[in-house]
Amino acid sequence: MVTAQLRRVAGSVVDPELRAVTIEELGILRDVGVDPDSGRVVVTITPTYAGCPAMDTIRADIRQALAVAGHPDAEVRTVLSPAWSTDRISEAGRAKLAAAGIAPPGPAGGGPGPGRGTAGPVALALSVRCPRCGSPQTEQLSRFGSTACKALWRCRACLEPFEHIKAL
């Protein structure tokens, strides 16, 4: 089926800041279709964070991948709703992140919803496993990391620092 092929092409684009995984595995790719009127391929994506600076590169990479596949006039649309969550990262994506030394996120846990009126801390997973040695004896070094979606952690067993995708 044509749409499935197009989705494979667009979905194979690698995230420019997390090069171990594709935008399909990260859950950034929402939809791929063909506009019935214009006949153009339309790809719909969603940002991880509103200010994610990788979005322009991702858009360009999608257009280039589709151009190579014979669709030089593809359109990339961005939607915000429903908001991206780390729960959208696929199992394959999580395994690839871990293999690349980036600890995948725990369950997002709902986040702040209506009625939560106090300044409770953001829920964190009980333990983040070291992606290198597997130890749960880890500690957070910094709540923010090299990109908006990551925090910096350290393993107390093997002493290696590593990055962790924050549950969102």
Partner: protein
């Protein structure tokens, strides 16, 4: 702000300008924060604010229908046309002031975005639903620092208290049209101050004017730095 219909351009400018000016002010910590992790943290928070600002100003431009995009609104308006609150334009004489301002702003933004995310306007609700998660993280970060500085050494306590005292009057402006929201805001901020062994300042002086374009001189200097490149080299890319 009404939650029942389409927002007005002015309402979107208030939200977007708050986020834009906060982003620019936070970005001034780049390479100057007290430790490298905090440098990264403040830059990340600034980036979140900038992301929200871009979405909100783009919406304001579309709604206005005068052909102004996010860049035109950010870089080609003068100080008197900005609708940001006074809180975000205040300078940062030290790190404690940054944290006090971030605590007050993030508590407000989290509450405000939470309500807007449940509002009737689909586009604004989708922006707010994205921003509310990020605001919760900012609030948590500011809370942790307030506790650490307030309940830290005698020196850090003194400076954190001084910052809270100095910044306290400014958030009043955020609740002028919405007194009910201040109660919810206080129920976030007051327990943090108490746990940080900081004294909650008395209410009194309530400076205002940002929402109608009457700003402190600090905004003009901030905008001069932010806008100079775009104005000197329109359409510059690199």
């Amino acid at each position: 702000m009404t939650l029942t219909g389409t927002p007005t351009v002015a309402q979107l400018l208030c939200l977007g300008d708050d986020a834009l000016v906060a982003a620019q002010r936070l970005g001034q910590w780049c390479s100057r924060a007290p430790e490298m992790e905090e440098d990264v943290a403040l830059a990340n928070i600034a980036l979140d604010q900038l992301g929200a600002a871009r979405l909100l100003l783009s919406y304001a431009g579309d709604l206005e229908g005068a052909g102004r995009d996010e860049d035109a609104l950010a870089f080609l308006r003068d100080d008197r046309d900005f609708r940001s609150c006074l809180l975000v334009e205040l300078p940062d004489p030290d790190f404690a002031h940054t944290i006090a301002k971030l605590l007050f702003l993030a508590a407000y933004q989290r509450l405000h975005y939470e309500r807007l995310a449940a509002g009737a306007d689909e586009r604004l609700a989708s922006i707010a639903a994205k921003a509310v998660k990020e605001s919760a993280y900012h609030l948590d970060h500011a809370t942790l620092w307030t506790l650490r500085l307030g309940d830290g050494t005698a020196g850090s306590h003194r400076r954190m208290q001084a910052a809270v005292d100095e910044v306290w009057p400014y958030p009043h402006e955020l609740f002028e049209d919405d007194p009910d929201l201040r109660g919810a805001w206080l129920s976030i901020v007051e327990p943090v101050l108490a746990e940080a062994t900081l004294e909650r300042p008395a209410d009194g002086w309530a400076p205002t004017g940002g929402r109608s374009g009457r700003h402190t001189e600090h905004l003009s200097y901030l905008l001069a730095e932010m806008q100079v490149l775009h104005r000197a080299h329109p359409g510059a890319r690199w």
